[in-house]
Amino acid sequence: MGTASLSHEASADGATAFRVTRVVTDERPWARWLLIGVTVTFLSLFLVVPLAAVFAEAFRKGLGAYLASFRDPNALAAIRLTLLTAAIAVPANLVFGVAAAWCIAKFEFRGKSLLISLIDIPFAVSPVVSGLIYMLLFGMQGWFGPWLAERGIQVIFAVPGIVLATIFVTFPFVARELIPLMQEQGTEEEQAAVSLGASGWQTFRRVTLPNIKWALLYGVILSNARAMGEFGAVSVVSGHIRGKTNTMPLHVEILYNEYNFVAAFAVASLLALLALATLVLKTLVEWQMQRQVTEALELREET
């Protein structure tokens, strides 16, 4: 038992990890270093190299050419459209996620597990099919397309279609983060607030929201990254009209297919920066959530 506890302490403390002699549940040093080597090589080759390539290609002809790519009005229009799409899709799914998590986590009713499965559906639908189903509804051969066209409303090959497809692909993110967390937290605190005379909105804002804020933020970060980066679904419904219905990823595609590589990678570098910011924020929020869990555990032990 002595060796086992030693290994446990050692692995918890990075500094002393390699000074400890081998215990029965550790691999031999050569196996350990081989595995670390494989991991570092595989992740560098597969993840770091592509990321580095985006920036290397973007700056291939120097900073001037890079910056010139953003003077193109079509690039600016694409950036604006991407921001607009995310600004509509993310709050829409945020409201839905909170509403869905409230009724699912705080109440017992029949058909709940079916409802949870239905919310997860968009994750099982491939991006291209996600775009296609909106074509079937609002396209000229679709159910509502001709009716809307008579009234001068265009959904497909226009901004509303792009927003709808984006909402679809980011649909479950917030709900999925909130539901398990709120189920775990139970209803005791909210019941206490209501019995002390708080209104429903007050209960939510003062009691529930502080408990779920990090998970909420986590869901928002993930859905924002997907909303800004979605390609397949948006590609189907956009129509690729320059300066009008091209989001940033679609603009990257057009520039790339025109062999305008510097400009394509320049716009792509902004999306890569977004991805890096997403990873950093996500990691920070994960640490916060872990801290909250440990604090809650410590509090429980004290009482």
Partner: protein
């Protein structure tokens, strides 16, 4: 009757939130998805069959499912090594590597696509060293597999990590004390416990790869019969205004991902039951 559908609670807002959830879910997800089923029902059985068994379509299914299967297998092997290393060992840069595993989730697929194409093309950073060996990656099925491996990696690692963290070291010690060497402990004690997580990760990576579009279209070259994936075929049918044809192919893909999803749920249910049975 109302009482039977919902257990009584003092908390407010049930009607409002459930109503909104159902309305939003129906408008955004259920109604559009049902359009796919109704639209394909407009096709006669013979038309549907001839569309989905057209040689070009069958070639794209074979490519999509084959490349996805290989990519998910590569991810199961390397993803296991990555998850094991990140959970068990402490080394400089571990937290950074751990954070960067999610890059394929965070990086827009179109960006991954052009970056991978740039690296593995004839004059690219890695492609130039493969070229003399006669290994062509860009614009071949190999490139497609590579892109699908890229986007599937986080699924395996992130599903395995919690399972490996929960592993009971004492069981491993017991195995060692009873005379098992490290390899035997690994294959007889560790693998059986984490197998459901590994299979779930594999299935998730596989499912994601089947529907993947953005990261593949650039590196695949999109040659009919050779490097044309099913998602792309749907898009080209749509561009030819063949909505019915696109719908038929989409339905096949949708049903196969639902089957996979059901398999994943079954696995998790099985793993959960086994877990409870043990403790």
């Amino acid at each position: 009757m109302r009482f039977a559908l919902k257990r009584h609670s003092v908390l407010p807002g049930f009607g409002l939130t459930l109503g909104y959830t159902l309305l939003y879910l129906s408008l955004i997800v259920l109604l559009p998805l049902s359009a796919l089923f109704f639209k394909s029902a407009e096709l006669s059985m013979a038309e549907f069959w001839s569309t989905v068994t057209n040689p070009r379509v069958v070639a794209s299914y074979k490519l999509t499912f084959g490349a996805s299967l290989i990519a998910a297998t590569i991810n199961a092997v390397f993803g296991f090594a990555v998850a094991w290393t990140l959970v068990r060992y402490r080394f400089p840069g571990r937290r950074l590597l751990d954070a960067i595993v999610d890059l394929p989730f965070a990086l827009p697929t179109a960006v991954s696509g052009i970056a991978l194409t740039a690296i593995y093309s004839q004059h690219g950073w890695i492609g130039q060293y493969l070229e003399p060996w006669g290994v062509k990656v860009a614009f071949t099925p190999l490139g497609i597999t590579l892109a699908l491996t890229f986007i599937g990696l986080p699924f395996v690692v992130r599903t395995l990590q919690p399972a490996l963290q929960d592993l009971d070291r004492e069981t491993e010690e017991a195995a060692a004390i009873l005379g098992a060497n490290r390899f035997q402990t690994f294959t007889r004690v560790i693998i059986p416990v984490v197998l459901p997580a590994l299979l779930t990760g594999f299935a998730l990576a596989f499912a994601r790869a089947i529907g993947e579009y953005g990261s593949v279209v650039f590196i695949s070259g999109n040659m009919p019969m050779r490097t044309e994936i099913a998602s792309l075929l749907i898009i080209s049918k749509l561009e030819q205004h063949d909505t019915a044809g696109a719908t038929a192919i989409a339905l096949v893909m949708l049903l196969s991902s639902f089957v996979l999803l059901a398999a994943i749920n079954g696995l998790q249910w099985y793993a959960g039951r086994r877990h409870h049975g043990l403790s």
